[in-house]
Amino acid sequence: MKKDLKVIGKPTPKLDARIRASGQAVYGQDVVLPNMLHGAILRTKYPVADIVSIDVSKAMQLPGVVAVITGDDINANNINYKRDNPVLKRGRVNCIRDEIAAVAAVTREIAQEAVKLIEVKYNVKEGIFDPFEALKDDAPQINEFVKGDQHINIAHPFYYEHGDIEAQKRKSAVIIKTRFELPRMTHCCLAPCAITADYSNVDKRLTLYCVTQIPFLFQRDMARVLNMAPSDIRIIQTVIGGGFGSKLDMYPYEPICALLSMETGRPVQITFDREEEFIASPTRQKMTIDLTSGADSKGKFTFREARIIMDNGAYTSWGATTPFVMMQTFSSMYQLPACIFDAKAVYTNNVYAGSFRGYGNPQATFAVERNIDLLAEKLGMDKFEIRLKNANYKDELTGQEMKFISCGHKEALEIVSDKSGYSPCHSREGGNLSNRYKRGIGFASMLHVGGGAKIYPSDGCGTNLKMDDFGKLTIITGSSEIGQGSETVLAMMASEELGIDLKNIKVINTDTDIKPWDVGVHASRTTFVAGNSLLGALKLLKEKLSNKAAQLLKTEIDDLVYEDGLIESTTSGESFKIDKVVREIHFKPPNELCAVYYYYEPGSEFQDKYYKGNVSDTYAFAAQAIEVEVDTYTGNIKVLDIHVAQDVGKVINPLGLAGQIEGGVVMGMGYALLEELYSEKGYILNPNFHDYKIPTSVDIPNIHFYPVETNDPYGPYGAKGVGEAPLIPTAPAIANAIVDAIGIRIVDLPITPEKVLKALKNDA
């Protein structure tokens, strides 16, 4: 029987918040093990060079140093998506983050001192830092481990098409072609990378206390790198101080730490300082997008043709597969009859790119949404009307064969237009406050996977449940908590289903020796996939409880409700405490523990070789309307109001949801206005928070959030994925607002005051 929801939809503080507020949470840098050593890594002095010799003798002599290792001392396989990244480099270095040697010592200071004593002779070489240069016929091979299928420096090519593009070009009344340049942005997790490796010479097992978002893939990869059996490696996730996609790959420091522990037989910890974090963490892909977009005379979109060159850097992470996600936006955000998408990840001698919240979608959406404003302007159409006319709709089957079984796109657009006070007559003139200050409003939408993403052999998640004799529930889930609040969402679902208080629920989710398999925190999938997995397990648990309760209460199973810690018969009004029912199952026939397991695999499909197929069980949609004020004297941009309407399926925890939205939007603002990791000839110029600015508390605008509930048929309680979406439309909406205010041309990010002033001058 259907009852009103008592927990789902109610603002609920995070279960782990009190531990975090008290300072007791243990992050990677806080781990201390008996007899622990500290590791440090020597990175190359030059981005591109042959390594002539490495002399570690002085480092070895420093008191307190226990081990020094170089590429010649270790037996380890290459890491990363294309297995093109040696853990410690031998013979040559390819980018400024390259690892050459590592030290284990009794203190971190001694390890860092020892690193400085390692003498390396380099034969410095010219590098290639521009992917277009790397694509020339006579360009030398940058990464020796990969033979590109098309060109030696193409790490990963992607090609997709649907529809008759030539016919659609002929139908087009306007065609806009723009080249966009998107910068390197980096995650800036507040907690720098940290790992503690503990290898036991006695039982030959390796325990890693680390911060991965993908514990089971990490375990498998680590085993392959170290030539160990995966089951001999135990991954324990510490509290993770920010992920945002950065922990979706393994990086060399992690196997290096393991190797130091294996070499010394003692636990070893490596923690990055902030400069190392900036240099040796991945970045969002820097890319050049040539996008041609068309529309017919009525404003219906006709086609998009995207040609993209991505700066892969020297090695290939999972991030090189971001075109999977980008092509979804080019092919299917707004109705579109025809699309060509051609993207190449190209090796250069820059630091390498990785996965980052949105996974290519912020770049793709920026290009698509900027071009839409240009199409509208050329057609003389209202920029809101053109979006509404082309919006995605429920039950749409897109050219890429994605099925939108629920879709709140139109509603989201209408809400943000309405709430922002936008009207078609709101124009540049309307926003003309004075000669100096000009205001404008910009729109952008977003399409992203919302029901997992089938890109790995399984997109599933396992759940084990145990209810003890005192009525407390332990949820052992494959999914991971990285600050996003997944623990709390799962506990809320269990509380709702079993009618027990949240304080009687515990979530265990950090240990691969205990928890069942899960593919990891990515694709905004945890609430959807881990939530459905939990609901499947709860159903089994309730079957056990209900069978016994029905017997005890002499009634039918359908007659039972779970509420206030009781299982109650709605006809007789009689009830039993839930823990009493558990004890009846445990201590009397059938003498069973109240424990179950369940594995959930989403119903999504693998794409075929043409990249067609319903890759996610459902999709998330959003629209943002943003108002800015531009100071035409200084070029300074003030973001005034951000209106966000997002199709979240169903609100599970309003508190956690708003936190994800606000955090995502502010990260998107950073992408729009502030953030770029500057690189010159392979050197990183701004590896600190003075020079790489992220938004602070004085920068943030008013953020207004309007959830759109489409009650997805496959989502847990109707919910769909949330986490990545809010940052995706923010940069294009801000850019469109600035153009609305002052009419400059914007084709690149970040939109700094210098660029605004320069554009104003050039246009005058």
């Binding site: 609040g485 936190g659 992220i694 938004p695």
Partner: protein, 158 residues
């Protein structure tokens, strides 16, 4: 060469031997085991290591341990009253101001100092007081809301 110093942290006296170059953050974390003080950048940019020195918010990564001798140091571990969280901590929990939580100890200590100095801050004053504490998860809105809520809670108590 190491020096013996006396630090008064969260009301307790400690005697430790430190190199003169040891920062207060390192002394708290390594010598005293008070790891609630986080190290996010070590150069005074991020505020994760904020502690109160004689009630004034200070970057413990830019303070030498030897400089802190003779001063009252408050770290996140000393904020709660035994098992009972401080109203500022309660507000951060209840309002949803904590995601990954790495910035939280520094944010809480900056808030304590603000509310001590100005029990009824405006939104603008809150934003400015927290501008030395970076957060990458929350977008700051819920943190600002938590400070307002904390001010209300503390007024009710006083």
């Amino acid at each position: 060469m190491k020096r013996i110093i006396h630090l008064k942290v969260n009301g307790l006296d400690h005697e430790i031997a430190v190199e003169p170059r040891r920062t207060l953050a390192e002394a708290l974390r390594i010598d005293l085991g008070l790891t609630g003080t986080r190290i996010g950048c070590s150069i005074g940019d991020c505020g994760a290591c904020t502690v109160l020195i004689d009630g004034v918010p200070s970057f413990s990564c830019l303070t030498l341990a030897v400089e802190a001798e003779g001063h009252e140091i408050l770290t996140i571990e000393g904020v709660a009253d035994g098992n009972k969280l401080h109203p500022v901590q309660e507000a951060f929990v209840e309002v949803g101001a904590i995601q990954c939580g790495f910035c939280t100890p520094g944010m809480v200590l900056s808030t304590l100092a603000l509310l001590d100095y100005n029990p009824d801050p405006t939104e603008d004053e809150i934003r400015r007081a927290l501008s030395g504490n970076l957060c990458r998860c929350t977008g700051y809105q819920k943190i600002i809301d938590a400070v307002k809520d904390a001010a209300r809670r503390m007024k009710e108590l006083s």
